[in-house]
């Protein structure tokens, strides 16, 4: 058994130590907001926070995630400025990559509450959106930075 702390809840799961955290979260814990896109850390759809850092759960073994605080899209509160800005700008199209985009954006803003376009490029380049919502993601991140006082942002959800 492997014990995991996901969104502040403790889970005991049966999994091979090398099984990617992504599939354990999706299939064994049952939180399907975290998405499979490529399996090789190229697209960012599987982004979660591990001890507050954005990580690709498709390339993180469940063994390496043990004992660490894992936050998924379901653990980011609805009131989070990034989620509110995403609604305001109607960012998603198909929506499949958006949990990963939001997890990367939340992590960015925790470190840098007022990112420049270059900062956004750097932090978000690992997240592919095939529908092409990049313009709105950029706009929503800027909006979130205006919406949120710095201290709210620093909390970055439950991570």
């Amino acid at each position: 058994m492997i014990s995991l702390d996901v969104n502040g809840k403790k889970y005991e799961v049966e999994a091979a130590p090398e099984e990617p955290l992504l599939w354990v979260i999706r299939e064994k814990i049952g939180l399907t907001g975290t998405k499979y896109g490529c399996g090789i850390a190229q697209c960012g759809a599987c982004t979660v926070h591990i001890n507050g850092e954005p990580e690709r759960s498709c390339q993180t073994s469940v063994k390496d995630a043990q004992g660490k605080k894992i936050t998924t899209i379901e653990g980011i509160p609805e009131s989070h400025p990034v989620k509110k800005a995403w609604i305001e700008d109607d960012v998603p199209q198909c929506g499949y990559c958006q949990p990963g985009q939001i997890m990367s954006a939340v992590a960015l803003m925790k470190k840098n509450p007022s990112p420049s376009d270059d900062d956004i490029d750097q932090a978000m380049t690992g997240n592919i959106c095939r529908c092409g919502t990049y313009k709105r993601i950029r706009r929503a991140i800027h909006r979130a930075s205006i919406m949120a006082p710095d201290d709210t942002m620093a909390k970055g959800g439950k991570s």
């Binding site: 999994a15 091979a16 099984e19 990617p20 599939w23 999706r26 299939e27 064994k28 049952g30 939180l31 399907t32 907001g33 975290t34 998405k35 499979y36 896109g37 490529c38 399996g39 090789i40 190229q42 697209c43 759809a45 998924t72 899209i73 379901e74 609805e78 989620k83 995403w86 609604i87 109607d90 960012v91 998603p92 199209q93 198909c94 929506g95 499949y96 990559c97 958006q98 949990p99 939001i102 956004i120 490029d121 750097q122 978000m124 380049t125 997240n127 592919i128 959106c129 095939r130 529908c131 092409g132 919502t133 990049y134 313009k135 709105r136 993601i137 950029r138």
Partner: protein, 725 residues
């Protein structure tokens, strides 16, 4: 509260009445519940197949189109709500079950989403169902109040009488006792509550909280997961296989042969994947084992020397070419392309003795359901297909052969024979998805034109070579005309440019690589060829590419309108930063006309940067302008990924690409500034999902020519070709 709810197993619909100008509204009657269930159930008004009004004032709209990002879960409810005079905050959405009530209004007896057709094909029907329900609610109120219905009006889910008002929920019970109106009266034009206004998408909250259920997220009790080992060469078959090692691996339940390969069924995805890696398969690779893209292009080039099936012929092209003051000719090629939907292909199937249920990201529900039914040996009505959210579609999930649904049905059938009787979700890895086919065809175009002494084109000869998408599919009947697949020549045979002698012909070689519609279909290559070559002619004539097009589009005011708008908004002809150049293109597809101006720079190492794209669209009457803008932004990104990065190539019959590392997508740092301008129009509505794609590749390549003097005639753009010597 807005939200998407899953349609229940009990939501069984019957089709029926014929109303209003022969339009089938698909009025439905729900079957009686048991007495206890009925008495506990709040009153509900079910005026037709598309609307449910609850006693709690909820207005549930059943949407018969797949939501794959294009916004139909918002735009189609807007059409209903407009005529229904519904309170937008009370709208709920349910995906439609498979039923003829929900058939495409223009595709024959099948339900499906594609061809950028949802708004244009549903506008009339959904307006009418909304209006019919409104009339019944007004009639119910007038009945209760004993007043003439003419003295009542509807507003924000209330009927308002001379001196009283009742909500739709309060009227639901009475309205359910009334007959549908014989003649449906639509609202007077002039005032609209929703249509034409930028409405927020109803699906956004689900999509940002991670609660939206895509096919890959669907669950069923006791569900297993399967992955399939498929032939490395298209058309290959399993000669023999050994699964001894796979079967003893942890979590693996079975390994079964299906027509596409060998499926490993396990408790979870990871176990299935490990099991698949342990399979030992000997393939009969079949005739495509020597497929090689370079050779294929050479074969296409030789085919293009001969006249193909004639798609358009006006005047005498050969004579006009001979006597022209100047002749220009060129060859263009574009590669096979994968759709690369972010959600890889998948299908959850629960096969029982006398029923079957599917959860799938489908764009083609009737075909998918019927294919599954025939494979598992059930009647179509014994198979229930649940449409989930689609993590992108781009045409891939409208497979005329139901490839990924059929495969899942084969897996479920073989599993039962192996005594594995549990629901199974077949998941494709990204590699499976990239290498699994149904690509945009590879195209080869040979094109020649003649200019007169004033530089005006007098002859245009365009030969197209590429596989037919519709041949051998249920769409052949509608889309194959006199041996010509219309999707192969769209955007080329119907070029609006005024050229007196014109010949467009087509060769459709049968290659065996599975091909399919890829966002914008034939236009994805014809716009590139036509709009690049028009640019070549402009330069050959010594004319400004914008002015050259203007002169050739005199009789097409809408095309001219977007061309001028894009030129004006982009500052065509005005100075740019050093090293930046502009390119322009204009193209009509799916009932909409779009012009794009790309601003580009090319570094000495050949790297292309697209700084800005100005996009002007005339899509006729608009429903949700914000969705139109989003679709233009997205179409441009989709087209740029293809223009700048992507190709699927074959060597020794094998696909050479596999994942986003070698089949890259445009990323955030490559995203240009995009401005979208929508022409105010009263014309019939056009599509918006696809038309944003075609003009971007030629606009960018035309800008590259302006910058470097190098003409890109083969996609993707290769920096090595643009490198300064």
């Amino acid at each position: 509260m807005n939200g998407i709810v899953n349609i229940s197993r009990r939501d069984f619909l019957k089709t029926g009445a014929l109303l209003g100008g022969g339009l089938i509204l698909g009025f439905s009657i729900e079957p009686e519940r048991s007495t206890s269930e009925a008495s506990n159930k709040p009153a509900r008004f079910v005026p037709n197949a598309f609307i449910r009004i609850g006693a709690d004032d909820s207005v549930t709209i059943i949407v018969n189109k797949s939501e794959m990002g294009q916004g139909v879960y918002t735009s189609l409810p807007m059409l209903v709500a407009e005529e229904l005079e519904a309170d937008w905050s009370k709208i709920l959405i349910k995906p439609a079950p498979v039923d003829h009530a929900y058939d495409h209004t223009q595709w024959g007896p099948m339900q499906g989403t594609g061809g950028s057709s949802s708004v244009k094909s549903e506008w009339e029907r959904l307006s009418k169902v909304g209006a019919a329900a409104r009339m019944m609610l007004i009639a119910a109120a007038a009945d209760i109040w004993k007043v003439n219905p003419d003295k009542c009006r509807a507003e924000k889910s209330f009927v308002i009488g001379p001196d009283q008002r009742l909500s739709y929920g309060q009227l639901a019970e009475r309205a359910s006792t009334l007959e549908p109106p014989k003649e449906i009266v639509l609202k007077k034009t002039g005032h609209s509550e929703f249509i034409g206004k930028p409405m927020k998408r109803l699906d956004t909250p689900d999509k940002i909280h991670g609660t939206a259920v895509f096919g890959i997220d669907a669950k069923a009790p006791e569900m297993l997961v399967a992955v399939v080992a498929r032939s490395p060469v298209f058309g290959g078959k399993v000669k023999s296989f050994k699964a001894d090692k796979a079967k003893v691996m942890p979590g693996v339940k079975a390994a079964v042969q299906v027509d596409t390969g060998v499926a490993v069924i396990a408790d979870d995805f990871w176990s299935a994947l490990q099991g698949r890696a342990a399979l030992e398969i000997v393939w009969d690779e079949g005739p495509l084992a020597s497929l090689d893209t370079t050779k294929q292009v050479a074969e296409y080039a030789s085919m293009a020397q001969k006249l193909g099936a004639v798609a358009r012929k006006e005047g005498d092209v050969d004579q006009a070419l001979k006597t022209a003051s100047k002749q220009i000719s060129a060859e263009y090629t574009v590669p096979y392309l994968a759709h690369a939907t972010m959600e890889t292909l998948n299908c959850l199937i629960d096969l029982r003795d006398d029923s079957c249920e599917l959860w799938v990201s489908s764009q083609l529900q009737t075909v998918d359901r019927n294919s599954a039914a025939s494979i598992v040996g059930l009647k179509a009505e014994q198979v229930k297909l649940n449409t989930t959210y689609l993590g992108c579609g781009f045409g891939r999930k409208a497979n005329p052969h139901s490839d990924f649904v059929s495969e899942a049905a084969h897996v479920a059938k073989a599993a039962r024979q192996a005594n594995v009787k549990r629901p199974i979700k077949v998941i494709w890895t990204r590699e499976d998805d990239t290498m699994g086919g149904y690509y945009r065809p590879l195209w080869y175009d040979r094109i020649a034109a003649g200019l007169d002494k004033d530089g005006a084109p007098v002859a245009w000869r365009h030969t197209i070579v590429g596989q037919s998408i519709v041949a051998g599919t249920p769409f052949e009947k509608g889309l194959m005309k006199e041996g010509i697949d219309q999707t192969s020549v769209e955007g080329a045979a119907d070029t609006p440019y005024a050229i007196p002698n014109i010949l467009v012909d087509l060769h459709s070689p049968k290659i065996g690589v599975p091909v399919q519609w890829w966002r914008s279909v034939g236009h994805s290559h014809t716009a590139f060829v036509v709009e690049s070559f028009i640019d070549e002619l402009a330069h050959a004539a010594g004319k400004d590419p914008y002015e050259f097009r203007v002169a050739l589009l005199k009789n097409h005011p809408r095309n001219l309108g977007v061309l001028k708008l894009a030129a004006e908004k982009s500052g065509w002809g005005k100075p740019l930063p050093v090293g930046h150049t502009r390119g322009i293109a204009v193209h009509e597809s799916f009932g909409s006309i779009i012009s794009q101006v790309a601003e580009v720079s090319v570094k000495p190492d050949g790297k292309v940067t697209v700084h800005k794209v100005v996009c002007a669209i005339d899509c006729g009457k608009t429903v949700n302008p914000d969705t139109i803008k989003a679709q233009m932004e997205g179409g441009i990104v989709f087209g740029l990924s293809a223009a700048l990065h992507d190709e699927i190539t074959f060597k020794n019959g094998r696909v050479e690409q596999s994942n986003f590392n070698d089949y890259p997508m445009l990323r955030m740092e490559e995203m240009p500034v995009v401005e979208v301008y929508i022409v105010d129009s009263k014309e019939a509505p056009g599509g918006v999902g696809e038309p944003g794609v075609p003009p971007i590749a030629p606009a960018v390549c035309n800008a590259i020519f302006a910058s470097t003097g190098k003409r890109i005639r083969s996609l993707p753009i290769r920096p090595a070709d643009l490198k300064k010597a």
